[in-house]
């Protein structure tokens, strides 16, 4: 029953450590199933012995004394030692398999209250709440925090690693399959810890190259009047004090870089689908959707709000 439940036949999962799509997660899932069967068998055995000891009818002459203290030494010391040694050896092989591989791409991830800054130092790309990685290529992660402790976790790809304010921690990802994998902050970081998610988009290497080439460009040229009006309104409303849109006068560094915002899957750090409705709702009052976050409520006329939305969504 437990197995059926664990196997999770009820549709697609988006954040499951037991449905690995990457090297690290696969090794760890293997370790889990090994431990599950080994320790599960021992658990059943111990419970059976305990039940027999407690519930069997009273022996003639008041209580058997199976083997006295020898029983305790064999079952309580010798047996666990053997089981735990087997486990430890298996765990060590798993650890070897998780040693950092030679990596081709480096991504810096910087945790903020409550969003993720993502940088590709080799390619000069800055984005937020989304990592693009090539399938089959090990990617190096350099993790640090701009404020409190966070933890980077994409269960389908690998285990987690903390982001600290005082040092850079490293980890790696190696995706086996093309797909979008959801990740989430795993170290309590304050009010909106629950809404600090992100996505990893694993794509074919050629597609990754194309993405890098496109993202290295400044923001795209505007084509409609509404977009141009939106750009002006963006500046007039003061958005540029916190956000950067490369190629424009917006160079703030408090909030996420919005240079290629239109191509992002979600807004609010992995929370809501990135579309016109959600986006204008967010801009109008981010505090209603994600109370406590750094972005203040704005008081923008509906027309301008509409223009800003259109402008941002055009930044693909």
């Amino acid at each position: 029953m437990v197995l059926v439940w664990l196997a999770g036949c009820e549709g697609e999962r988006t954040q499951s450590a037991l449905h690995p799509a990457g090297e690290g997660a696969q090794v760890i899932a293997g370790l889990w199933w090994f431990m599950f069967y080994l320790l599960g068998a021992v658990f059943v055995l111990v419970m059976a012995v305990a039940a027999y000891a407690i519930f069997r009818p009273r022996a003639e002459g008041g209580g058997g004394k199976p083997w006295g203290e020898r029983f305790i030494i064999v079952c309580g010391i010798a047996l666990p030692t053997v089981v735990l040694l087997v486990l430890l050896i298996y765990a060590l092989t798993a650890t070897m398999a998780l040693r950092k591989p030679e990596t081709a791409v480096t991504i810096e991830v910087i945790g903020h209250l409550w969003w993720w800054e993502v940088r590709y130092p080799e390619h000069g790309i800055v984005t937020a709440n989304e990592l693009h990685i090539p399938v089959g290529v090990p990617v190096r992660l350099e993790l640090r925090s701009a404020d409190v402790v966070h933890s980077f976790w994409v269960p389908e790809l690998h285990g987690k690693m903390d982001l600290l304010p005082e040092q850079v921690n490293t980890s790696w990802l190696l995706a086996h399959r093309v797909g979008v994998y959801r990740g989430q902050c795993a170290e309590y970081c304050g009010q909106q810890h629950a809404r600090m998610a992100f996505h990893v988009r694993a794509v074919e290497p050629s597609e990754f190259e194309a993405w890098v080439a496109a993202r290295s460009q400044p923001a795209r040229v505007l084509t409609t009047d509404a977009q141009r009006r939106g750009q002006r309104a963006f500046v007039e409303a003061g958005c540029e004090t916190c956000h950067t849109i490369r190629g424009t006068e917006a160079t703030g560094d408090v909030g996420p870089d919005l240079t290629h915002f239109g191509s992002r899957l979600t807004i609010g750090a992995g929370q809501w689908r990135n579309n016109a409705g959600n986006l204008s709702g967010w801009i109008a009052n981010p505090q209603a959707l994600k109370p406590g976050n750094q972005m203040p409520r704005s008081f923008i006329e509906p027309e301008e709000l509409h223009a800003i939305t259109e402008y941002l969504l055009s930044l693909e």
Partner: protein, 836 residues
Amino acid sequence: MRESSDNFAAFERTWTGPARLPGALAEVNNQPLGKRFMLTAFIFFLLGGVLALLMRVQLAVSENEFLGPQVYNQLFTMHGSTMMYLFAVPFLEGLALYLLPMMLGSRDVAFPRLTAFSYWMFLFGGIIFYASFVTGDVPDAGWFSYTPLSGPEYTGTRQDYWLLGLAMVEVAGIATAVELVVTILKCRAPGMTLARLPLFAWTILVIGVMIIFAFTTLLVATLLLELDRAMATHFFNPDRGGNTLLWQHLFWFFGHPEVYIMFLPATGIVSMIVSAFAGRLIGYTLIVVAIVVTGFLSFGLWVHHMYTTGLPELAMHFFAAASLMIATASGVQVFAWIATLWGTAPAMKTPMLYVVGFLFLFVLGGFTGVMVAVVPFDYQVHDTFFLVAHFHYVLIGGVVFPVFAGLHFWLPKITGKMLNDRLGMLSFWLAFLGFNATFFPMHIMGFFGMPRRVYTYAEQLGIDGHNLLASAGAFVFACGPLVFVVNLGWSLWRGEKAAADPWGADTLEWSVSSPPAVYTFAAPPVVRGRHPMWAPAPTDDAETNAPARRITQAMHGRPVTWRATLVTDALHATPQAIQWLPGPTYTPLLAALGLLVAMVATLQQYYLVLPLGLAFSLVAVGSWVWPGEWRLARMRDDDVADAAGLPVFPSGSASTAWWGMVCLLAVLGTVFAVLVYSYYYLWLFSEQWPQERLPRPGLLWPAAALAVLAVGSGAIGWAERQFNRHQLHLTRAGLIAATVAVVLFLAWQGWELYSVPFLPQTNAYGSIYFIAHAALAITLVAAGVLNVAMLVRLHHDPQHHGHTLMQMQLTAMFWHFAVVAAVVTLLVVHASPWVL
């Protein structure tokens, strides 16, 4: 005969505390205070449970808006803090305070006033925690309060409720631990050697020692964090050379032993119940070894809470291996219980039922514990609901179930009324089934990507069903304790009267009536085996020799006009002295009130009131430890000493005070060890030391100051020798010389701190530099005050024996410790930056 019954009535009056307010506030006896501890902790348990239910309502469905993020974060913070700090340890300590004297054959614990002080500190600390709900400024940085989230930059005053409340509760925990350790070592019935000590007492002895080290570490950590918040120091501020991981290390150096501090007494309860229901005990020695080994190893595991913080791989495997070893120690206990129960067909009364439930839940939780200790696996499940499931199996299954087993087992002794067995079984099944429905699905939620401490989760995780089941289960689970409360009420109102030994159990608490007399034993019992109730000491064998009989007879209902108990040797429990015990007094309450004022002043940032509260508290403690002349005279004049052939003014290791001082020095030693650790930890992660090109500290003056202190140390040693040779004038001279040495040293320290070109607020180096000097200065001031107190004592009481001798010994012990502390501190702070 007439005279002796009059005497006995007077003896009982001496022991009877005031029943009504306000006199009841002066109570110091272990029985009422043990009950107050347990009742207060149980109320906190129920409060923590209510918080948990609210959390489960919020999490019942995804994207729920029942509570909102702020409130949810406050609730999980307070839930964890309540259960860890305000329920588990205080409850178990309360149970131990109540039970140990009657289990060991003593009339009270070693330091009754300390019991009262602990209780008030615990209560006031808990009130500070919960006062935050009244002001609406509820702490929300988690029970672990990781920096920098809990630091001044990210959290307002609400975190101060947590830190200051916790500080008071920690002091209570440490004080009770000292109390329990000394009680177990010194207040045992003649013949109860350590090899005959009941297993519950063994677990309390081990956790008492663990608390002294672990809680003191947390106490120092909380004070450092409070300094960061209130005085702008930088211990945990990475922008100014501090280190946030330092907090995690200090916290888990407390936090991991804490798990075993809760769990070991629970195993002690289980051992007592298992042997009572089996009518025998197999594997006593192995269990004792397992308990001691667990205690030791638990201090080597703290890093397994930090596998994902980027530590070196080798270090992590060391901690993983240690974690697996400790599992073996638990295995020994489990199989010892199985062997004991084997084929004895124990009656399935409520206590036994809870023990069986414990076995299932704890072994399951233990197995998932082995899993999370495996480093790579922890990468995935760390800080997920898998962890939440694991530690609730261990803490509820492994601690709360044994606590309920113990309540059903010992409440008849405490209240004198039996509980209803049917209601007990109902409470068990509700709790057991509800518990599994709540927490088993959480394993799976963790695998499917649900992190801990989230107020909501995305529907796409596909865990709505699991969460709904967990929430429903929580309400079923909550009915278990509720039925227990009903059962308790019913039992008090209508319950069948309990016999002295309703379970046929083996230890001494079952030899006294239910409920016991407040003095527990009219005459000290004599013990001749591990199971005194199954094989009572024969009254006429060779081993129950004349001295023991003489003591038993001499102390029957005596001394009459003052409270006293028999103290025995720590190892062999041979009688050593008749120990005076205090009667009702308000001083512990006043001392705790002074500290409460100091804490509230800090909370409200009225820093001028802070020293007033501390001073008030110190005066109260001073009047508490200073014996009244009338009391000493009464002890001197009593002929119980001659009748029993034992001293009433013991000294050296025969006295409880000596052991109390050893424990106090262990606490202070831990304080210095934590500061030294922090000093080198900060250094290790700094690019340069001293930070920011500050000059290295001086060498010459500290060396000179140490030399002066060494002379003072010689003077104290000399004074003690002169005292033993009855040369009281020379003793005075030595004490005065030592006091002068302290004053000179303190003057140098003041000058040193005044003249260094930085402040505690400059950077982390400045912070640790000042705090190390401050800790040393406080220790030396205390040593100086003790010197002066000894001079006053000699003035009042110019004699070599009795209380004066004890005070001289304690003064010298503290002094020598202070000198060692000075040497270590100055070597670390002044010499090591030149050498390393």
